[in-house]
Every structure is written in C-alpha cells, then in structure tokens.
Symmetry: C2
Subunit: 363 residues, 2 copies
C-alpha cells in the first residue's frame, strides 16, 4: 500500500519508448547509445538489451563506475574532470571508455597521466554555449587532435554534440531548425577531417531532436536519455504525447482548501525537484494530475495542475466542479515536469507490475 | 582529496548559529524546538545538545522515525497524513509525538484510529496560504478542538504557525511587519481560548522572523531550521551575513570559456537543486563563489556567480581580470541559494575538521 510520495513507473510505456527509439535508430542506420542519467538503474538498463543496445552514455565517472559492472562500452558525455584521473585509469583498464575533450589543457593532462587506453571525442558547441569547442576554432580542435594522436593511450573517436538549446523550443519546427544546424556543423567537420580520421564518428544526443527529426544523414550515433520516461517539458516541446510519459508520482492528499480551490499534497521539492515549466494557459507549473487506474494512469484531469512546491508540500489547483471528488488520504498521480531530476531525487521506482527498483546515490 | 562535488560544512559557523539562536530563545523566554529538516543528520542534531535543546521539529513522519532513536519529543510540522496512521501509532508509543491538524476530517480519523497518545497542534494560516486553518473560522477550529477533547488519545497542545511568506521579503522591515501580524493573530487566539486551555502553546517558526524580530511577547516556542546553515536566500532577506553561511559546495573546474568569461564546473541541479535567487545586480543566480582557505572559506569573490545549472554542469561567470587565475582542476567553493535542498540532495557533509557526516534517504 502506498502511503508516501512514490514514483510509479509504467514499464510497458518505458519499454515502448525504448523500442521506438531503437527502431528509429536502426531505420536511420544510426548507432544507438542511450544516455543512462535519466533512469540511473541497472535493472531498467537491462531492459535496453531487449532492443539490442550494447553501449551506453553517462554523465559522470561515478555513473560510469556503477554501470561498468554490466556494460563494457561507455561514453562519459561530460567535460573530463582531471581530478578523477585515478577513476579514469581504473575504468579504462576494465571497459571501453570514451571521454569528452574540448581543450588542449585537459588533453595534455590526460596524455601525461593515462595508464590505459581511452577513446576521445571532441565536444563541439553547436549553439547551446554550455560546453564544447567552437567548431570554427580549428586551431584549438587540431591542437587537441595532435595531443591525442601523439599519445599511446588516446584514440580519436570523433565529434560529439548536444543541442541542449532544443529544450527551450516550443514547436517541432524550432527543434528541426536547430537539429539541421547541428547536422550542418557536424557534417562540415567530418568533411574536413575524414582523410585524417576515416572512421570518425558524429554523435548527437538531445531527446527533442532524436524524437522529432527525420533527417540524420551523415550522422553516426544518437545518445538521447530523457525519452526513456519523457515528461511534461518534452511534451510541451512536442517530443512526446502525454500517454508516452512513463513515470508519475503518487502523492497523498493531506489538506483541502475550498476557499482557494487548492489541495495540499505530501510531495514537494525533495520529490519532484524545483524545475518548473512555463505554460501558456496555467503559468508556471511543477506537474499535472492524471487519472488513476490502479498502479497505472490515464489522461490528464483538465485544470488540475501542481502550482506550488516547498520542501515537502505541493499545492494542486483543482476546478470547482471536481473539488468534492477528492478526499483526505486519496492518492493523486502527478506527471512530472522533469523526469531526470525527479528520478534522481526519488532513487526508487515502483513499477506497475508491483516491483520496487532502487538506485544508489552515486557520489 | 576532493575530486567531485562535495558539500563542506564549517562546524564552527554551524555551532555559532545554533548557539546564537538558542541564546536568543532563552533571552526571550521562548522554548526552542529547532527544525531538523535542514540538516537531517543525527550527528549534527547532537551538537544542539550542547545548547540545551531537548525537543525538535521535523517535516515528515519518516524523519520523525529516524530521529526518534535519539530524541523523544518531536513535533511533525506537516499536515497529518492519515495514510501513515501505523507509523503515527508506532511513534506515539515510543516518544512524545506532536502532530499538526487543520480540519475536522483528519481529527475525526485520528480520533477513531489512534492507539496511543499524541499532542495536537492546530495549524493556523497566518497569511502564507499554503496550509492551516483560517484564524477567523472559529467554527472549524472549535470543531477540531471538540474532536481532540473527546478523544482519549489526543491532547490539545496549542496553535502552530509558519510565516513562510517572509521568504519572499527583501528587507528586515517587511519581515518584522509579517512577524507582528502573525504575533497579533496568534495572541488573539490565545486570548480567546486561554480559559479552555490554560497551558496552550503558541509556536512560530520561520528563520527570517526568528533571526530578525526582537518582540516575541506572548509567544511560547520557536521552530526555525534553515538558520543552522543559512544561505544566500536568507542573506538576501537580511536574516544573516555572508560569514554566517555554514555550508559551501566544492566543485571541480572542468572547462573554461574565455570568449564568454565562463567557467564550467562539475556541480549541477543534482547537487545544488534548481532553486534560484533573483538578485538585483546579477539576475537569477544559483550560488556565489567564496574565497578558498583550505577546507574553509572567506569573503565572496566579487562578480563570481553561478549563473546556470543543468543536471551535472554549472556555469560560473567570472570577471575578466580574474579569468586567468582559475585553472582546470581547481576547486571552486560555492555558497548555495537554498541550503535545505542542497543538503537533502547531497546526503553528506565534509566538515572543516575533515569528518564525513552522511544522512540517509528518508523514504
């Protein structure tokens, strides 16, 4: 019996999301290296095997260490942290490890300190302006390549991009425009360096582009992660339908305020995270309530949104005609705004088959 | 050696914050029942004993269960979750447990289902409009009192308020105004019901009021929590000085972008939380960089702020003249916007004495 905030996972929807993306990658001739930072679970990771997945992406060396027990080809899509050189060396001995470089300094440090072989991707800034080398700064890119080529332990694998700015889009057309721009930048790099590196890989990765784009010509690998669960942010972009969202938080109703048409739930920032979503009709929200069917859920309940969060409290707005339907002790099923952060906070999933899946805190 | 995002705790500053608040409570003749949701640690909780603390506040029954191993007088300052009646009964047998009521339905449920004695506070909405009974709705308040009085297992303890709207203040005067309004509402209730309950307690609790107000006449108990660490949000309100902040996140520098005057750190939303702070001069920020002194820290570095967060990445703005000072592999010490959520995410503290304090995930 659920008595506290509990993250429900619809394993059918989750597997369907995996299967759809795997099929798309296969149809486009792309290598599929899903990002595991969203689910962070060995168990859920195993489901990917059903769809032929053999290599994965993670966002920290801690996560790489955790998954290295079951996966032997891992790309860490995060700027290399030179302070963790010991971990890099340990993992590089154990598995096929790919790391991400973007400047001469880190490359030079690795060249001096690596004791086992790593694959090196150069991260390209395709417009998100978070990390990555400027694609026009070929002097920098080639300086990194020269270090890689002169090292016994480093091998150039290709260029890696993450069009994170698609997360700010609100339509398919905007996403496609960014994806095409990314593709253009990446193809130009391949063209420029294909003689030097005939096997170089172009790897891209955001969930909006991988969900919405059709043209992947010239690209080699995709690394989406969030699509495994999807969420309201992705639905707002257009990446998925509401029915594709594979996680929902079950939250006990603990107080009712008819004068404000508000329900207070046990479920706050320590469960959902404080990531909000700006919507046209309902302003800033933190979740939407779905109809409850046992441990599964159905359509959204129109007008029922999670409007406020403090540490343990959530405030749900409810239309007047539905107010009396909800009683103290009821569970509300709430679709999250950002499933990655919600899963990271909850560290466990209760599947619609009644199975409990826990994930460790990766420190 | 620190190689990954690590939450540093200056135990001297933390004890100083505890001592200052305990002394203030004593000087004002107030009972001091600190909120433990900020630190969530048995070890840090023990430090309070040095200042004579014998009773505590928590925000969930899970937390009450965790602390019940060492504390035998606990108030759960959260609307009672009737689904957890088994836990309530277990705890009520073991310790002095106080719960929070605000409506007839929960009171009636407890009256029928309690098998051990609990102290009952009626939560009063003093203007935050999150939870609590309307102080003017004496019909509701008295209906709850009647249930309590007719139950063998329930005892009325008093009124409990949380002026959470002080968190939206930006000056001491605004905080004092809210505090005085809260005091007025609470004193009126005491006046009204003191014949029925000669021992009734008025309990208030937010960190801004407890830090800034001087007039607590008529009130009986304070329950602040955040002050144990403080943070940039409280500093912005005026509750504390920068030098009172007792926690800082040490984050490895992983990339530099001179063209944008940005440093990329390993430290993101899964470490800091996504709670931001709107500042006048720097817009929305997620932290500020402090000078590093071994495992301690000093003043803020002017102009160095954490401007962006994704799951594991943080983006730090740095003034031009300081840019070259920072190298890959350096640690940046960052004061957090919201220490409660940051501590909850990190689940461990590395003290300035080199001790590691971990806290469990309370599910």
């Amino acid at each position: 019996m659920i008595t506290k905030p509990t993250l429900l996972l619809d394993s059918d929807k989750c597997r369907k999301n995996m299967g759809r993306m795997a099929a798309k990658a296969a149809a486009k001739g792309l290598s599929f290296r899903p990002h595991f930072k969203t689910h962070q679970s060995l168990e859920i990771g195993r489901w990917y095997r059903e769809f032929g997945v053999t290599k994965i992406t993670v966002s920290s060396l801690s996560m790489a260490g955790y998954f290295s027990g079951e996966w032997n080809d891992i790309t860490v899509a995060f700027p290399v942290n030179i302070l963790e050189i010991e971990t890099i060396n340990e993992l590089a001995w154990k598995i096929t490890l790919n790391i991400q470089l973007e400047n001469f300094e880190s490359a030079a440090f690795l060249s001096e300190n690596l004791r086992a072989g790593v694959g090196c991707f150069i991260k390209i800034d395709v417009g998100t302006h978070r990390t990555g080398a400027d694609p026009k700064d070929t002097k920098n890119i080639e300086a990194v390549m020269d270090v890689i080529d002169s090292s016994d332990h480093m091998r150039f694998r290709g260029f890696l991009a993450h069009s994170g700015h698609t997360y700010r889009c609100t339509s398919k057309n905007e996403v496609i425009e960014i994806h095409e721009k990314t593709r253009g930048i990446m193809l130009e790099l391949k063209q420029k360096y294909k003689n030097r590196y005939p096997d170089l890989i172009l790897s891209v990765g955001d969930t909006p582009s991988c969900s919405l784009a059709e043209n992947f010509e010239g690209l080699d690998e995709i690394r989406p992660g969030n699509f495994v669960f999807y969420d309201l942010t992705q639905e707002n972009i257009g990446s998925n339908q509401i029915e594709d969202i594979a996680v929902a938080m079950a939250c006990p109703l603990v107080a009712k305020h008819p004068e404000r048409l508000e329900l207070v739930i046990y479920g706050g920032g320590v469960h959902f995270s404080k990531d909000g979503l700006k919507t046209g009709s309902e302003g800033l929200i933190y979740g939407k309530v779905a109809e409850q069917h046992g441990l599964k859920w159905g359509s959204l309940v129109p007008g029922m949104v999670l409007k406020g969060l403090s540490q343990e409290h959530g405030i749900v707005k409810v239309p007047c005609h539905l107010f009396d339907k909800y009683k103290l002790g009821d569970l509300l099923y709430i679709l999250p705004v950002h499933s990655c952060l919600t899963a990271d906070l909850m560290k466990s999933f209760y599947t619609t088959n009644g199975e409990l899946i826990t994930i460790p805190r990766l420190v």
